[in-house]
């Protein structure tokens, strides 16, 4: 898997790829996310047509606090790639990739529901696992394990 072409196009917005246990992680700036994802999907040599998973990570109290993690798979080539975007606590907003991979719809809703990360341009961003009137985002580290209704 050769990522040099991406580097030529996106430059410093693309972090250095990290490899751990044979898995490659690409940390990128949120401003180029959608353009990068389109590139990853459409480039013949990469062909990441399958978004296997999308989720949030809360690194509280570290900063930047949040990460949104994308697990990509290529049905044609059989390779995988992880893309990560770091988000600041004060501004947990990121562009939706539903236009790139349809499957991102529910994943992004779940990430919004459990982490409170908002996805710009998502067609229908509302809670998916918890009731609409639920307060808080339970997978955040500062959300108590026992729930907020017990003191």
């Amino acid at each position: 898997m050769n990522l040099d072409a991406l580097r030529a196009r996106f430059g410093t917005a693309l972090g250095e790829p990290a490899t751990f246990r044979g898995e490659t992680t690409l940390t990128v700036d949120r401003n180029i996310l959608v353009a990068l994802c389109e590139c990853l999907r459409d480039d013949e040599a990469l062909a990441f047509d399958f978004l296997a998973d999308l989720c949030g990570v809360d690194r509280h109290p570290a900063a930047p606090r949040f990460e949104v993690v994308y697990h990509l798979y290529s049905v044609r080539h059989g390779h995988r790639l992880r893309v990560k975007v770091a988000l600041e606590e004060e501004d947990p907003v990121i562009d939706s990739v539903t236009g790139v991979w349809e499957t991102a719809d529910w994943h992004e809703r779940e990430c919004f529901d459990l982490f409170g990360i908002r996805f710009r341009n998502h067609p229908d961003l509302r809670r998916i696992l918890l009731p609409d009137d639920f307060e808080g985002h339970p997978l955040r580290k500062d959300f108590p394990l026992e729930g907020t209704d017990r003191t």
């Binding site: 751990f20 898995e23 296997a52 993690v69 992880r82």
Partner: protein
């Protein structure tokens, strides 16, 4: 919603769903104009719980994600932790894992077959399928003491070595199983009513499946031969001979055929695993993640200290992150673990195939009849416990 349409709730409880699913249908007569699945009734916060438990303690939670394929969930999780810890699992343990995962796939498909056929009005396959599933549950029970939640796999190997009874009972099962599948096929495959209810219903082509992230038998029924056991072999699957059945139409009928053939292949794999079962250790005993043998505790203070440390504090994998996926009966089941070097996962995310596959439901039933909705939900083979986690 308009004055001419009727809003109807299918569920929260409906026989065609394993668990609680509410689908709000908008009907024009008997035709589905639109649908809105409402999930989350079961949400137990397993990912949140995992953050407060040691890596060993999470194994029992994975059983409860998908109670029809607990061993597949055990396997996906321990493989992810083993990748994180860089542990080499002995060949004997890998073979037993493969045998168990394949028996679990058969058990899951049998339950699906019986209930799916029952939903569509065929009673007999349910009795037949559950009869064979009982035999598999008995094998799991003899092995682990539990039928639905075996928790039999451990990081680095198995909870215990298998005994001769296991090999004998798997042989006895696989000896007769192909003939039993013939019986199910006699009832359904060429049955004109079955065909009318399933052919051309709930169609998703290969492109749609991939865009929607759909995996497993649903994807293969649309002609894509993607199976992680072949595409990214784990646990020694590259040492086994098996076919990957695919369909062409991507409809409910082809999903049925794919799963029927998969059961036959799984029986072949399980048979190969017990026939070629290697001798040797069943756990990576040198690894810091593995409990010392019970015997060692009586004689060695070092062993006792290690045991105590693992129970009280847990293992500490290096900081880093891994994603590992297996081919569960429902598709790509992945675990993404982020470790900060501590004894508990910083984040544990499950990639549940049912959750993603269910997203295709609305596309499959829009414009179809109400009766088709039941057929389509059945053919997705969802387990709601896995959808909500």
């Amino acid at each position: 919603m308009s004055a001419e349409t009727l809003s109807l709730n299918l569920g929260p409880q409906h026989p065609s769903t394993h668990g609680v699913l509410r689908v709000i249908l908008e009907l024009d007569g008997e035709t589905v104009v639109d649908a809105r699945p409402d999930i989350g009734f079961l949400h137990r916060g397993i990912e949140k719980l995992a953050e407060s438990r040691t890596y060993h303690q999470v194994i029992v939670l994975t059983d409860r994600l998908d109670y029809l394929a607990a061993l597949s969930n055990n396997l996906a999780y321990v493989l992810a932790v083993e990748k994180l810890m860089d542990i080499e699992v002995p060949r004997r343990a890998r073979y037993v894992r493969v045998a168990l995962a394949e028996l679990q796939r058969i058990a899951s498909h049998l339950f699906w077959l019986g209930t799916h056929a029952h939903d569509l009005g065929a009673m007999t396959p349910l009795f037949y399928a559950l009869r064979e599933r009982e035999a598999l549950m008995d094998i799991f029970e003899t092995l682990s003491g539990s039928r639905l939640t075996p928790s039999f796999l451990r990081v680095g190997g198995l909870a215990a070595d298998i005994d001769g009874r296991f090999v004998g009972s798997v042989r006895a099962f696989t000896d007769t199983f192909q003939k039993r599948v013939d019986e199910y096929e006699t009832l359904l495959t060429d049955n004109p009513i079955w065909k009318r209810r399933t052919k051309g219903v709930g169609v998703l082509d290969a492109g749609q499946c991939i865009r929607l992230g759909i995996s497993g038998p649903m994807l293969r029924s649309a002609g894509v031969p993607l199976d992680l056991r072949r595409a990214q072999p784990y646990s020694g699957y590259d040492e086994f001979h098996f076919e990957i059945p695919t369909g062409t139409a991507g409809d409910v009928y082809d999903r049925y055929l794919v799963r029927i053939r998969e059961m036959r292949e799984s029986a072949r794999i399980a048979r190969q695993a017990v026939d070629g079962l290697p001798e040797g250790p069943w756990t990576a005993s040198g690894s810091p993640a593995v409990f010392p043998a019970k015997d060692e505790l009586k004689h060695s203070i070092a062993g006792l200290i290690r045991h105590f440390g693992l129970v009280m504090e847990g293992m500490k994998p290096p900081a880093g992150e891994v994603y590992h996926a297996v081919e569960s009966p429902r598709g790509e089941l992945g675990f993404y673990i982020v470790s900060d070097g501590g004894p508990r996962p910083l984040r544990l995310k499950v990639r549940p195939p049912s959750f993603v596959n269910l997203q295709g439901l609305v596309k499959m039933i829009r414009g179809r009849l109400l009766a088709d909705v039941v057929a389509v939900i059945g053919a997705v083979d969802i387990v709601l416990a896995e959808v909500d986690r």
